[in-house]
């Protein structure tokens, strides 16, 4: 079982002699090479911030897998899926890039090549029996180069009363994922919605057309680079800027 596989962080030295100081220095250098997620603390760029936190630099945390045991029914589920995938000739570690057990929910980050295989095993294997898919939700992470667009699938097993989340990612330059319609036909409209809002192309979908926006709409509105829009509102001499131009405390 390779559930402990440590994320997708490159440049991790393996098999070196234990050298606490060297490791710490290396870890520090690695940390500093991470992408900056945000600076400051209160969203102000000017001298208005007298908190002393103006110079704060927050880097993007490394994407780590949860260590075993995951707790709850998650370990059984991962074992069963591993066994089931073996039967299909796929290694668990190949198909599942990361396992995240967080806040009582289990997430499998699935590589897009194996997405339909994994979903098919999850649906058909009696030990897993995830009969119901409650749809696809897209998320856009512009700060995650090469994996900007995520599709998130929530599965329910009515037989075992369990829930599971699958997550697959594709880059902005190659926004393709295989369609799940063959496994879960309910994904038809949900994938159309995700295409409509994020520009994720689901290869093999029977009719990937826009569903919420008009057919001739330009752009994909739920992406982070798509502006919210709005006009300033004037009331009794004071002007309220549109929501996306108001101060954000990020």
């Amino acid at each position: 079982m390779t559930g402990e596989k440590a994320g997708d962080q490159p440049g991790k030295p393996a098999g070196e002699a234990p050298d606490a100081v060297g490791d710490a220095a290396l870890a520090g250098r690695e940390r500093l090479s991470e992408q900056v997620a945000r600076t400051g603390m209160f969203g102000t760029e000017t001298t208005g911030d007298t908190s002393g936190y103006g110079g704060l630099v927050v880097r993007r945390p490394p994407a780590l897998s949860s260590p075993r045991p995951y707790g709850s029914y998650f370990d059984d589920l991962a074992d069963d899926l591993g066994r089931s995938l073996e039967q299909a000739g796929v290694k668990f570690g190949e198909a599942i890039e990361r396992v995240v057990a967080d806040r009582g929910e289990l997430t499998f980050q699935v590589s897009r090549e194996h997405l339909t295989t994994v979903a098919g095993r999850l649906r058909d294997d009696p030990a897993l029996a995830f009969e119901l898919c409650t749809g696809v939700s897209g998320v856009h992470y512009p700060a995650d180069p090469g994996r900007e667009l995520h599709a998130v699938y929530h599965l329910v097993s009515i037989t075992h009363n369990r829930r599971l989340r699958l997550e697959a990612a594709a880059g902005d330059s190659d926004p393709h994922l295989p369609t799940m319609v063959g496994v879960y036909p309910t994904c038809d409209w949900h994938e159309r919605e995700t295409w409509d809002f994020f520009g994720l192309i689901f290869d093999g979908h029977p009719a990937l057309t826009r569903i919420e926006m008009p057919d001739d709409w330009k752009g994909h509105p739920q992406r982070k680079d798509y502006p919210l829009g709005g006009i300033p509102v004037e009331y009794r001499g004071a002007t309220v800027p549109p929501p996306d131009e108001r101060r954000a405390y990020e």
Binding site: R103, T134, S137, H154, I158, P185, T186, E212, L228, A248
Partner: protein, 447 residues
Amino acid sequence: MTPRTDAEAEGRVYNVGGQDWDDVVAAADEAGDRPGEERLIVNMGPQHPSTHGVLRLILTLDGETVTELRPVVGYLHTGIEKNMEFRTWTQGVTFCTRMDYLSPLFNEAAFSLATERLLGITDAIPERASVIRVLMMELNRISSHLMAIATFGLELGATTVLLNGLREREKVLDLFELITGLRMNHAYIRPGGVSQDLPSGAIEKIREFVGVMPGLLGDLRKLLDANPVYLARTKDIAFLDLAGCMTLGVTGPILRSTGLPWDLRKSQPYCGYETYEFDVPVQDTCDAYGRYLVRMDEMEQSLRIIEQCADRLAGRRPAGDARVMIADAKIGWPAQLALGPDGLGNSPDHIKHIMSQSMEALIHHFKLVTEGFRVPAGQVYAAVESPRGELGCHAVSDGGTRPYRVHFRDPSFANLQALPAMCEGGMIADVIAAVASTDPVMGGVDR
């Protein structure tokens, strides 16, 4: 009405203005349009009165038989999910309550439960707030089901059902108005609890409601349960079995009309549903009539739950247990509203507290109202059993004061996908019954 030849691919197009069907038929005969072929494509909606809002159905008809049905949605897209990314977590409630406008409290509850799970405060929600949430959701289930059954009747031609249904629904809305101040779009259930406690006299009103409602539901049953016209229009109509429901992601009364007692309140309880006594009604007919019966039975079960809520809320409670908002001052919205001589507003006690007694309280108030609270990064999925099925909220936080992404899995959206499976091969008149038994709310479908 004039025949007009469009491009080859589209064929001849007839514009129908109403009351002119004979003209259409005559014009088609005259033009000798494709002799021997009876295929007709009818565009039903988006403004058709029986489509529950702006749902468009493209029907291909062979005589009176529907050979193909394509639902088209998107006419009511309002960008609620996008807008929520530009507001604080607390403000998000005022947006998502407007999605499925017949069950606003379920939208609020799903979003609040997701936010609370992200914050890790699910167990810190005051007991009283959870009981009030259950109470409000069950009241809302009754009002939503009443609307579904009332419009169902109207669409099949029974105006009495509509009038009775809406009259009884008004009783629920009166309770909502008393408790939240509004008939819809309440923003009452919020991350951390509910916005305010029940006003004085609310428990008595609720008990009064629970007293009269069984009789009124009985009247509705007398109108419909064994009505030969209603039975003819609903029995064995819009068939969808368990396999179809699973495949197409259908939940709610449609799923329970196939005999599977899948109800999240029982199977994956939230808000303390495991502590209430109620049954999950099922039917095994897989048809429109079965869905109607499930809805009627569910309303009766909701009344049971409401009665238990009223008992718990009316019971003597220790002084510390009166909160309806989480005790953590960094999350719980600070003020309780109070009715003053000039209307509803911040309670004078709270204003006195922050303005002249406690510097910290003032800072908390200011920070919460302007900035909001930070939510640790991560993602969760919280689902509640709405009147239409599983309403899920997928919330993603990047650690900031605003949601990074909120997605609602609206049951109407998934259930509408099953319409072709229910309607194709049936009569066109049964499409109306199929749509009505699905009970879609376009505000939730399009968000």
